[in-house]
């Protein structure tokens, strides 16, 4: 059952949107609560260069066993108040749900051992892959891949996951093309209609599975859309202004998980998380400078301004001079968290000063950072939630962000070069031609250039 958005923000004062504290904290089983006044590290790791198949499976398991042991050992040595571990399944581990469950069990059992032996408080987030995207156009509600994806949630929940998440991809089959063409109508159709409908379908089921197994339905991310845009913008392939617009537009599709019953913490790569926190009050995971091991960004400091978990996104298990990369990543996260937690301990004034330093150090240098300023998050969120449907909310997000960036450029709060300004003009021209009515855009898309990219029945349209 999808609930409707309240017309009032849970956090409406920018000075109340900061790290470590969320109005609706989430209690974890191994002795701690997320969003209740402390920022915790969330470590994620992945395999080095290796093919995953039956012949390598034993080695794969031993790599994960080794990583979790080393990570927990260092977490204890550095006295972290608690640790969240994220296990993002790789495609073969979701296609063969038993494999993902086996690794989940290994990680969960190790966390249990360290909790009982050394008192290390911890939680395990497990994130199956949205393998429905394997074929194009994808079957979103039927077929073996969909069955295996949901089975993967079930088996991982049984095997010891504390939280379930996913980086869902509904609408990506249209968005990928629309993105490289900078076609706003395709982007809005993908995010405001396809992605929203898929999120509602998917998260109702993930919430049910979570309830059945007494695990936390944590949350989703617009990674498949906005992070793809962020990476392409970083490589100079698309305008950064477009990436910023897409980020705000993903708020509406990501929000659907929480309207379906997810309770957070949101996924680390959801840079739209602070908007979700303001709208819903749930705790969020974020990643920034500490995720440079996985991808580059322009949001290194500002991303932590409202974080309740601080993540490294993912790191390959390769040997560095000091230790294996997951241990190195964890150490960096823990030191960042220590500073944030010390600021929290010193009271509101200190916390805001520290937050503002992180915000101001990035905000003027890139439009994607600018839209993460607390006062902008509150202002845009307030406008978005006044709209009556997810489609209209998405239109509002895009329109308001375009105006905001133009205004910020005019006021010299951000510096946009000639290429960026040219595309800001083009995007605004495109926006003026997008139907205000969802039905008309659906009709146009069913007969338009993306008609062979998606299957309307899979979205119930």
């Amino acid at each position: 059952m999808i609930s409707t958005v309240e017309k009032k923000l849970i956090i409406s004062n920018p000075d109340e949107l900061f790290f470590g504290l969320a109005p609706k904290p989430v209690k974890c089983q191994r002795g701690f609560e997320i969003g209740n006044g402390v920022v915790y590290p969330e470590i994620n790791f992945t395999l080095p260069q290796i093919i995953i198949n039956e012949s390598t499976w034993k080695e794969v398991k031993s790599i994960y066993t080794e990583i979790i042991g080393e990570v927990c050992k260092r977490a204890i040595e550095l006295k972290t108040p608690a640790l969240v571990v994220e296990f993002e399944l790789l495609p073969p581990m979701t296609m063969n749900p038993e494999w993902g469950a086996e690794i989940t069990k290994i990680l969960s059992e190790n966390l249990d051992v360290f909790y009982k032996k050394s008192g290390l408080k911890s939680a395990l987030r497990v994130t199956p892959v949205d393998i429905r995207d394997t074929n194009r156009p994808p079957l979103m509600r039927s077929g073996e891949l969909t069955v295996n994806m949901f089975r993967s949630f079930e088996l991982c929940a049984q095997a010891g996951a504390d939280m379930l998440s996913i980086e869902s991809t509904g609408g990506k089959e249209v968005h990928d093309d629309a993105l490289v063409n900078a076609d706003l109508s395709g982007i809005i159709f993908s995010l405001g209609i396809l992605a929203v409908k898929d999120m509602q379908y998917l998260w109702e089921r993930v919430v049910d599975i979570s309830k059945n197994h007494n695990v936390i339905p944590a949350g989703d991310t617009g990674c498949a859309f906005a992070n793809t845009a962020m990476i392409l913008a970083d490589k100079g392939m698309i305008p950064k202004t477009l990436a910023a617009v897409i980020r705000v537009a993903t708020v509406v599709r990501s929000l659907q998980a929480y309207l379906a019953g997810a309770i957070g913490p949101s996924k680390d790569c959801a840079y739209e998380g602070p908007y979700i926190k303001a709208i819903t009050g749930i705790p969020i995971s974020m990643e920034g400078k500490t995720s440079a091991c996985a991808h580059l960004s322009y949001l290194g400091n500002i991303a932590s301004a409202a974080a309740d978990l601080w993540s490294n996104e993912s790191v390959q298990n390769v040997k560095l001079l000091s230790a294996y990369a997951p241990v190195v990543s964890l150490e960096q996260l823990i030191y960042d968290c220590r500073l944030m937690n010390l600021a929290l301990k010193n009271g509101n004034e200190f916390t805001l000063k520290y937050r503002n330093l992180m915000v101001e150090s990035d905000a003027g240098l890139d439009p994607q950072a600018y839209i993460l300023k607390p006062e902008i998050i509150i202002s845009l969120s307030q406008k978005i939630i006044q709209e009556d449907s997810p489609y209209k909310m998405t239109l509002c997000a895009v329109d308001e962000t375009l105006k905001l960036l133009r205004d910020a450029s005019d006021k010299k709060e951000i510096k946009l070069n000639e290429m960026e300004l040219r595309w800001l003009d083009i995007l605004s021209m495109q926006f003026d031609e997008i139907p205000g009515d969802e039905i008309n855009l659906i009709k146009k898309m069913k007969n338009g250039i993306y008609a062979d990219k998606f299957l309307p029945a899979e979205y119930d349209i």
Partner: protein, 224 residues
Amino acid sequence: MNLIEVIKENVIRGHTDSNAKYPPDLAGKPGVKDLVQNAIDEMIPASQILNESLIAGMEIVGSKFSAGEYFVPDMLLSAQAMKSGMQIIEPLLKSEDSKKIGTVVIGTVKGDMHDIGKNLVRMMLEGGGFEVIDLGINTPPEKFIEAAKKYPDAIIGMSALLTTTMENMRISIEALRANGLNNKVIIGGAAASQKFADEIHADGFTRDAAQSVQLVKRLIGLAA
């Protein structure tokens, strides 16, 4: 500026025809489609239009992208404009016995669903005058083998984003060679590197889509 140069300029600016709204300053003015028709009416040979306007224009577009002066959407507008001109001259090129300069088979390897980079390579190669056979995503070695048999002179391009799927490029190349297929193979994608290309005996590595045209041209002896 003569007509050939004007067409080339319109390819570079990505202006398709007089109905196109982009770029805004050219809206309402004749674009590539209209101008190519004019050129045909003036009896300019289709092969000259192809080489000196369309392909030459796309070469400049590729250079602008490599220099950070164009985004991908700019390139795609140009590609679209070029295509609109191609549609007019294609039937004439056939009668002039003009051939594509080569064929490239591309695909994202097995287990990998990422195709944005691959699609850009396809677009750049098509813009460069190549015929491109796109095998799509999650392409098993058997599909590369099948395509290599069908297009024995084609260059084969493989793409992978993930460290856990890049090994499938090695497996696909080994499968081609085991089947006696000697097509040249190029690789690309976030996980790939020149070092990895050397290790798996690929014939080339491309860092980005714009470079892929030069790489393929070099491999078939059309560029130094």
